[in-house]
Every structure is written in C-alpha cells, then in structure tokens.
C-alpha cells in the first residue's frame, strides 16, 4: 500500500473515530456497566464480611443515568432489594451518586421518606447505613452500601475511609469487565460487517469502547485493530472468511477463560 494511500486511510479512520468520540462526548452517553453479577456478588459478600455488616448491596446507574438499579445484595432483605430501582434525584443512594461523596447514617429510620419507601419495597429498614459511590475517574457507576454494623451502633470515619479504598477497587473491576465485553462486541461487529463484502466499513460498537479513552495503551490497541480491519476488506472472499474464523475462534477462546482485571 502506498504511503499516500495509507495516509488517506489513516485520516479517514481518525476522522471516523473522532466523530464517534465527539458524538459520545456531546450526548454524554451513559455506558451501562455490564459486569457479570457473579463479580458484583463476590464484592458485596466481601464487603459485608469486611465491615461486619448485616447486609450489603450494589446499585448501578441504568442507561438513562436517572435510576439506580440494585443488581446484587447479600444478607437481610437481599432477595427483595434486587431489581429495585430508585431515582438518582432522591434518597441517600441518590445523594451519594450525585455528589460522589460517601455518607454514613446511624438513624436511618428517622428519615420518614426513606423508611416508608424502603420498608414497603423490601420489608427491611436498616438502622445504620454506609453508602459509598463507585467512581471511575470521578465518574459515577453506582453505589455500594453496607447496612447495620453488627458490633457497633454506626459506621465510623475509618469504615468510610476503608470502604472508599474497597469501592475504588470494585469500580476498577466493574469498569474492566465492561471494557472487555465492549471490546469483544466491537470486534465481532466489525468482523461481521467485513464478512458482508461491503465497501463501506463500519465498526458499530467501537464508539462504546472508545469512551474508555482514559487508557492510552488501550486506545492504541484499538486503533491498531481498526487499521488492520480496514486493510482486510481488499482481500478476496476466501481470505476474508479465513480471517473471520480465526478471530471468532480467538473470541470464543478468550470468552471461555478467566482473565485477570486490568
């Protein structure tokens, strides 16, 4: 491929990626963290044990960024709280997500709205609560709550500080799982388009991956993948099919193996 042609294609690709990034930035598209429930469940169980709490739960922001949906829980009231959606615009969990600040409350029942709504929906009203935002690069993903400290009337500042460190790890794990899933989707979508022998190359889903722009190494890798894909469409049908099979096999293999978080 001539240098000029390569340059033109790079520019085109860069423009396309730039367009996606701009579109995502402009619309502030919410990326629903899609970490597996198994990972989240492990996190809440560890949190409950670590902080001596009777219960713990994680709620994640939905796509609209307007609701927090409880995805996993452990301990008292766990089965009732899963699936419960609360508005970001109210309550302790809403406050924590809106401000990015944790909050500890030791007399939850005195907040009448909280007590009434929660009791009606879950049958369980905690006496003490520590709610910590799950932040990735200071952007909210959701909230982790530990409820009813078993050997003390309330959660203290030390609990708050420790849960902050714990939540940071949890947020990285959730984000890494989301990134891996989005990358896999993007690769498969790109390859499917390629297989259709269409001259117009599209990489649906890449924009989602590109919102992970905080990671320069990851961005470089994605650009390299995109460049490779863009050069493949000039091959014959048989070669393209072969490439597709190799990459799909790799994706299946990658999917079946446990991977450490980044």
């Amino acid at each position: 491929m001539s240098r000029r042609k390569q340059g033109t294609e790079d520019e085109s690709l860069a423009a396309q990626l730039g367009h996606w990034l701009t579109a995502v930035e402009a619309s502030s598209v919410a990326i629903l963290p899609e970490a597996g429930n198994e990972l989240l469940q492990t996190i809440v169980e560890a949190a409950a044990r670590l902080f001596g709490a009777a219960a713990a739960s994680i709620a994640l922001l939905d796509e609209s960024q307007e609701k927090l949906v409880f995805r996993v829980a452990t301990g008292a009231g766990a089965s009732e709280v899963i699936g419960l959606a609360v508005s970001v615009g109210q309550g302790i969990a809403g406050y924590v997500v809106a401000t990015g600040q944790p909050m500890a409350v030791s007399s939850v029942q005195e907040d009448p709205r909280f007590a009434r709504d929660t009791a009606r929906k879950t049958g369980y009203v905690p006496k003490s609560i520590l709610a910590m935002p799950l932040l990735y690069d200071d952007r909210p993903l959701g909230v982790i709550e530990v409820l009813d400290k078993i050997d003390a009337p309330s959660f203290g500042m030390q609990d708050m500080e420790l849960l902050g460190i714990f939540a940071r790890q949890a947020a990285v794990a959730i984000r890494a799982a989301t990134f891996q899933r989005n990358l896999r989707h993007a690769l498969l979508a790109g390859l499917q388009n390629l297989a259709q022998s269409d001259n117009s190359i599209r990489f649906d889903g890449l924009e989602q991956v590109m919102t992970e722009g905080q990671d320069p190494q990851g961005t470089e890798q994605i650009l390299a993948v995109a460049r490779t894909l863009s050069s493949l469409y000039k091959l014959g049908d048989a070669e393209r099919e072969a490439c597709l099979k190799v990459l799909e096999a790799f994706a299946v293999l990658a999917d079946s193996r446990p991977r450490p978080g980044r």
Binding site: S106, L135, M160
Partner: protein, 277 residues
C-alpha cells in the same frame, strides 16, 4: 496531587494525632469571647451551595432569604442556567443539614440556597462552579461548600473561583473529601478546609499545622436536619464544614472589618489545641 499516599483527612484530628500548638504574642490575646462573644451572625449573608435548603424546616428557623437553582445547559457559554428557586425544597436533605448547623450557631445569619445537585449527573462540575460563581457575584460573605470535585481538569476552574472569592472578601468554607484523595476547592490555600473530629461541642474546633486540611470540627454521629422536616444522625466531613462556616459567620458579624486571612488567624488563635502563652 496524588491522593493515594495521603492519610485520611480526619485522622489528623484524632486525639492521639492532635498536635498541641502555641498561640504567641498578640495572637495569645485573641479568645472566643473577643472573636464572637455576643454575636448572632446578624447582617451576614451565607450561601449554602448544595442540594437545596428546605425553607420551612424548623432547623432553618425562618432565616431562608433566597435561593437559586443551577441547571446544566450545554448551549450556554458557562454551561449552566441559573433560575430563582421557587420550590424552596431540598432534593436530598444534605443542604438543609448544613443550613441547620449554620443556623444553630448563627441564628440571625441570612441563609441563601444555591442548589447545584440533582438528578442530572451530566454537568455537575459546571453546576457546582456556576453556583459558586453566583454566590461570589451576589456578595455572599460566607459560602459553605460541603461538596467537591476530584477531577484534575477542573483544578484551574475552581482555583480561579477560589482566588476570586478571596479577593472579593468572601470566605469559602470547604469540606475535605471523605476518602483520601484530591478534592477541589478544599485543597486550595485560600479556602478554609475542614474535616471531621469526634467531639460534640459545636464551638470546639482544632487547627492542623500540616495542611491542606486546616480545621477539624464536629462531624461524627451528629444529629442534623434532613428532608421533609426530619432529623437524622450522620457522619461526614460535610457536616464539619458548616460548623466552621457558622463560627466564621459569627466572627464576620462582630468584626466586619476582618479579611479572609485575618479570620483564618482568628480561627487559629481560638482553636482548642492552640494554647495561649
């Protein structure tokens, strides 16, 4: 600034870690009686930049004097739209908690609500900055900021606002983040940065000679006003900041001639771990 290696801000005010200081020379002559004795906060405008203030909450004592709601609006240059707060409610309860603490210390202070928190998570840093800008431009003498941002890209934006406030004789009282790490504007030298200590006496506060967090005030298991006329018991640096804001309001009311750095000096001299010699 990297937060990972820093201790949690409130640990500096734990009994075992607290450093005993000397208030020497003429500073030794400054005490609480001189600084705020007899003051009620009368004539001082205090803004609470937060989730709103419930105007008719008993803890606010009818001192709600006005308010605005700052919404994100990407079409404007400042990215925000400021409108009068006709609702006079608090979306969460947090702003009312801060207002209630300030009112309990400075019962005649004029309270203004600047609502910057809400269900729209898109532009919260711009809302926060826009609210702070409104408070500075509208001659608030004390601004309580029990919120912060940890994002480096807003360092400059908030630094400029903090400097502007300082030069306009406006005191920013800023809660340190509850978890270790950067939080703006609480880490700037021109603001009064506050973390929680375990004490309960609202007039007892400590000075930390190893900033950036300079003051410790009650914020652990404190009863505060909350949404819908209620009260809760809660913990956080958020509730320490309004204790200092309340004291500062008393000082400003009694000594309107004092500038921000002079008030910081008065607070040092009247802190419980500064001993007169």
């Amino acid at each position: 600034m990297s937060g990972e290696s820093r201790p949690a801000w409130s640990q500096q005010f734990a009994a075992a870690a607290l450093r005993q200081l000397k208030s020497t020379g003429p500073l030794g002559g400054i005490d609480a009686a001189w600084a705020w004795g007899g003051s009620t906060g009368r004539g001082v405008k205090v803004a609470i930049v937060d989730s709103g203030v419930e105007a008719d909450h008993p803890a606010v004592g009818g001192q709600w004097r006005g308010g605005v709601i700052v919404n994100y609006d990407g079409r404007t240059r400042s990215r925000v739209r400021v409108e009068e707060d006709c609702e006079r409610v608090d979306l969460y309860g947090h702003g009312t908690a801060c207002a209630g603490i300030i009112h309990s210390l400075a019962p005649e202070a004029e309270l203004y609500s600047v609502r910057v928190l809400g269900r729209d998570l898109t532009g919260r840093a711009f809302q926060f900055a826009g609210g702070l800008r409104w408070a500075i431009d509208n001659d608030m003498q004390v601004i309580n900021l029990s919120l912060s941002t940890g994002r480096e890209e807003y360092f400059g934006l908030f630094h400029e606002l903090a400097d502007d406030a300082y030069f306009k004789n406006c005191l920013l009282v800023s809660a340190a983040n509850n978890v270790p790490g950067a939080s703006y504007p609480s880490l700037y030298s021109s603001v009064l940065s506050v973390a929680a200590h375990e004490g309960k006496d609202p007039y007892t506060f400590y000075y930390n000679p190893s900033p950036p967090v300079e003051f410790g005030a009650p914020g652990i298991d404190v009863p505060v006003a909350w949404q819908n006329g209620s009260t809760i018991v809660t913990t956080g640096n958020s509730f320490a900041a309004p204790h200092i804001a309340g004291i500062v309001t008393l000082i400003r009311s009694k000594h309107p001639e004092l500038t921000p750095f002079q008030i910081k000096t008065v607070l040092f001299a009247t802190s419980a771990n500064a001993h007169r010699t």
